[in-house]
């Protein structure tokens, strides 16, 4: 575990040395801020409700997460630094988790800073804090799943662009599967609903904290990290 934290610390530092952290923040808060201003200025009497914001933030997270994770493992492969990393007494899972934690930490920073929006709302109106916190929990859990998908995508290629594309495709799959399933057949739709990111998020966002949803996000993340570790191990047999 100490090794995972060491790796996470190093990666988090790299985010802030490179333009990555700043570019992502500018993108995320630029669009969030714009949406926020548009929303609250939509006329007198607009609800002090964070829900429309959460939808935009979730969508922005979906775009930001493959960007944050694209280089985590793929550049180690592309530049060859992975050889020195993997010949240190470090387990494969520690490498995967370390990289994952770095992306999660940056995502958590994004969420923390974004608390300015509900705080501003609460100052001028009556905000339902329990629903807001539920929404934040939902965003955090979505991040847990998004970043794990990104880490996996980054583990299977040495090309950052390929990692983004694979990551986005996987995310869209889990995002849209609810609609696709419902369109195919009612039974399939029922199953698909349970593995859809959107469906699981909507429960949390309403302020309903359902263990089923929490378990869903955690197990999706666990599965993706498992796949990433397998793909790291696989390099050894190539």
């Amino acid at each position: 575990m100490r090794n995972a934290l060491t790796i996470a610390g190093k990666e988090l530092r790299s985010y802030f040395i490179s333009p990555m952290a700043y570019a992502v923040m500018v993108f995320f808060f630029g669009l969030c801020g714009l949406i926020f201003v548009l929303y609250i200025s939509s006329g007198p009497g607009a609800d002090a409700d964070m829900r429309p914001m959460f939808h935009s933030m979730l969508f922005l997270s979906l775009i930001v997460s493959p960007v944050l994770t694209m280089g985590l493992l793929s550049t180690e492969r592309a530049t060859g630094t992975i050889e020195l990393l993997m010949t240190k007494p470090v387990r494969d899972i520690e490498v995967a988790i370390g990289k994952y934690l770095a992306a999660m930490a940056l995502y958590a920073i994004l969420l923390l800073v974004s608390l300015e929006f509900p705080l501003a709302m609460a100052k001028f109106g009556h905000l339902d804090w329990s629903a807001t916190m539920g929404g934040y929990l939902g965003l955090l859990l979505c991040g847990v799943a998004f970043m794990s998908i990104g880490v996996f995508a980054s583990s299977i290629t040495d090309n950052q662009i390929a990692a983004i594309v694979v990551g986005l495709l996987l995310l869209l799959f889990f995002w849209l599967i609810g609609f696709l399933g419902a369109a195919a057949s009612p039974t399939l739709g029922d199953v698909a609903k349970h593995i859809s990111i959107l469906e699981n998020f909507q429960d949390l966002e309403k302020g309903i904290i359902d263990t089923k949803s929490i378990l869903y996000f955690l197990s999706l993340a666990g599965f993706m990290i498992f796949l990433a570790v397998r793909s790291l191990e696989n390099r050894r047999t190539v």
Binding site: R2, T79, G80, T81, L84, M86, P89, V238
Partner: protein
């Protein structure tokens, strides 16, 4: 210290190395010599635990590199062929990161970092960003991170590639100095390098070991004749034939660039006196007469080209 047994590694259908067996004893400095593509890097990657062998076993400091890989890796300092480092880190930062991953304590990292920076001539560059360092300095950072945790075994893949001649000499001396405290295994395709730095040489070609011995033994083993260089001052146009007629002489050929002749005699004979007497008796001027040492290069060429024929 390093025990390799029946090591075979396939890349797809082709073996990069097949049935390689050797041992390296504690404190030894062994060279892994072979042309490019002979399987040196593959062998080293398996020994360091980066890749598992297809078949065969590797033990480093008593630890199996498949079953007990983590413990084995703790005892190894590895410098890969292409020293790839994080280009956005500073030298000391990188060494600190490498030390923490090796499980070193903070004070130990500080102490060893100073030591390694000094040994590798990096003190002036300690705060430089690795991405801005020249190839030679990156190479030194690679060496510094390999020796940082004071490992029992150092595995260096082509440590002098890409260095200028002065740096090469520095690095070779550094490696020789390391052999006092570490077991060193280095790979190279440069023959004089192996001859100069290594106590023992393992010659590998097409993934197979073709010879293991000291550089001196190898050269004498492979020698099929005693060769002398003789230079004479004469107008006689038939020197070659006359020299060939001498007893025990098996071959005579002109030595390019010297104006003299290489005289091959039967192994275990010394015909210097007889040859000198003959030259004098003929009335030629004897300008030079010496034994020609076979270089490792000749041995190598012989071993690796015989295979192909």
């Amino acid at each position: 210290m390093i025990e390799v047994e029946g090591l075979t590694k396939f890349y797809g259908p082709h073996p990069a190395i097949s049935d390689v067996t050797f041992t390296v004893d504690e404190g030894e400095i062994v060279g892994f010599l072979g042309p490019n593509g002979a399987g040196k890097t593959t062998a080293m990657r398996v020994i360091t635990g980066y890749m598992p062998p297809t078949t065969g076993t590797v033990r480093v400091a008593g630890h199996d590199m498949v079953d007990d890989s983590l413990e084995g890796r703790r005892n190894i300092g590895y410098m890969p062929e292409k020293v790839a480092l994080y280009t956005d880190m500073r030298v000391v930062e990188y060494l600190g990161y490498a030390g923490r991953l090796q499980g070193m304590k903070r004070e130990a990292i500080g102490e060893r970092t100073e030591f390694c920076l000094e040994r590798c001539g990096l003190q002036e560059r300690r705060n430089d960003i690795i991405g801005r360092l020249s190839m030679g300095y990156r190479q030194r950072v690679g060496l510094a991170q390999a020796m940082l945790h004071n490992p029992k075994v150092l595995i260096l893949d082509e440590p002098t590639v890409g260095l200028d001649p002065n740096q090469i000499i520095e690095v070779r001396n550094l490696i020789k100095g390391l052999a006092k405290d570490h077991t060193v295994m280095l790979s190279t395709h440069i023959l004089p390098e192996a001859q100069m730095t290594c106590e023992r040489v393992i010659i590998i070609n097409h993934g197979k070991i073709v010879a293991v011995d000291t550089p001196e033994q190898l050269t004498s083993q492979i020698r099929q004749s005693e060769t002398l260089l003789v230079r004479v001052d004469t107008k006689d146009s038939n020197v070659v034939q006359q020299l060939l007629d001498l007893p025990k002489v098996t071959g005579v050929r002109p030595a390019e660039g010297t104006g003299g002749y290489y005289v091959d005699a039967m192994v275990g004979t010394d015909i210097r006196a007889a040859l000198a007497a003959f030259v004098l008796q003929k009335g030629w001027g004897l300008l030079e007469l010496r034994v020609v040492e076979m270089s490792l290069e000749d041995v190598f060429r012989q071993l690796t080209t015989e295979e192909e024929v």
